[in-house]
Symmetry: none
DNA sequence: GTTACCATAGTCCTCAGACAAGTTGAGGAG
DNA sequence: CTCCTCAACTTGTCTGAGGACTATGGTAAC
């Protein structure tokens, strides 16, 4: 499900350059054509080419030296974790997220401290504050989910979850913009169910509530 | 004093912005001031600010959205994945691995192809070949688990699992050297149960068998 | 009251041109 | 031959101008 995504020219140019670098068009340490030449080749303005180069420079692929040229500093970018997620279908990401969160909910129900529970409850309330923009609502939602993962007291799970946040956040905002929340009330109830199970230290109930909620999300995105 | 300001203004601006982001000047998901405002603050031109933003976008810290603004997508460059796992307690890693594998087993039971099943069965048999060294046995074990994850047909889960392999493999080998497998027969049965559930397309049974097996492993390592 | 539409301001995106600053290599002076 | 100068080329920076998109608020119709 590839949604219409208006990718900026500079980003397209960056992707194009990266593929050419990976294809070995310029050797490691080799020099790219001048900015003006590249601009003509790609059919974009020089500033756009410069931004594309900057983007790749930020990832460690290219290095621009004033007066000299632009050089290739790395042929193969270590499969950046963010890239994998960016390329992946959102449904695939949600499934992986489900794996993390269901386990986290179970552990949270076993290990949560009173302080964890307070933080979770506070995040739950923040989800329904009036006068929120779409973005704020999504951020509040992510904060609640994160609080639950934190309560699992497993740093690896937290790290994994944090890796998902940018990708999921983007998609959620896009989706809610196109099709505003169908049943916010139902959504809040689903979240409350997870929180209650954690509060009452009921791991199985937490697993069920969490999975139900995330399966619904997955269905909405399919 | 500095000899010359060899670093381009755009790179200096990028570093400055990253510092301010890390300092928490803008919250995660927060919006930065407009390009013109930032240019005035930093005392550089607009295009320079744009290049700085591009650079940070390439690193996954910022995200520019046309018509809306520039947003913070990560407070810090994500820690190198391997480092996190190397530092983490092995039990913590096993818990995360449980999250991945239980979900993968469920999906595999739904989606496995005949070819997947053949590969899984082959890996299961390879676990018990006679005359294996400890290392070979562990590798065969990991291969089986990986085949199951692959059968989930979820590339993100596979990527996550592969990230775990080195850390888990090392610990397993150490453990088996110190205290040779107490009940290899029981272990093989546990694996067979998971495989059978996947073969018969029974997701719930796959979940139960997988969790039981991994909980036992966790207990053995605690 | 609710919804749909529209206008508007604010934002990022792209381009073009100009000049500054740095690097390189060729060719001349010694 | 060595060293110096200089011209050509490259990236760095700034400015100005539109274009495209987003978010917000008001207005009218239902």
């Amino acid at each position: 499900m590839t949604q219409v995504s208006r990718t900026p020219l500079a980003d397209q140019a960056a992707d194009l350059l990266l593929t050419r670098v990976r294809a070995g068009e310029w050797l490691l340490g080799g020099k790219l054509p001048g900015e003006t030449t590249l601009a003509a080749q790609l059919g974009v303005g020089r500033s756009t080419v410069r931004e594309a180069i900057r983007r790749l420079a930020g990832r460690g692929v290219l290095d621009a030296r004033q007066g000299s040229g632009v050089y290739v500093t790395a042929l193969d970018v270590p499969d950046e974790w963010g890239d994998v997620l960016r390329r992946a279908d959102i449904v695939t990401v949600i499934e992986a997220r489900t794996a993390i969160e269901v386990e986290a909910a179970m552990l949270a129900a076993q290990r949560r401290t009173p302080a964890d529970l307070r933080a979770i409850r506070r995040a739950l309330d923040a989800r329904t504050l009036p006068g929120q923009s779409v973005q704020e609502h999504v951020d509040a939602d992510m904060a609640l989910h994160r609080a639950i993962v934190v309560a699992s007291h497993n740093e690896v799970l937290v790290e994994l979850f944090d890796g998902f946040v940018p990708r999921v956040r983007r998609t959620m905002i896009e989706m809610l913009r196109i099709r505003p929340t169908a049943s916010e009330r139902q959504d809040q109830d689903a979240h409350a169910a997870v929180v209650e199970a954690i509060a009452k230290r009921m791991p199985d109930a937490a697993v069920r509530a969490s999975r139900t909620h995330l399966d619904a999300l997955k269905a909405a995105l399919s």
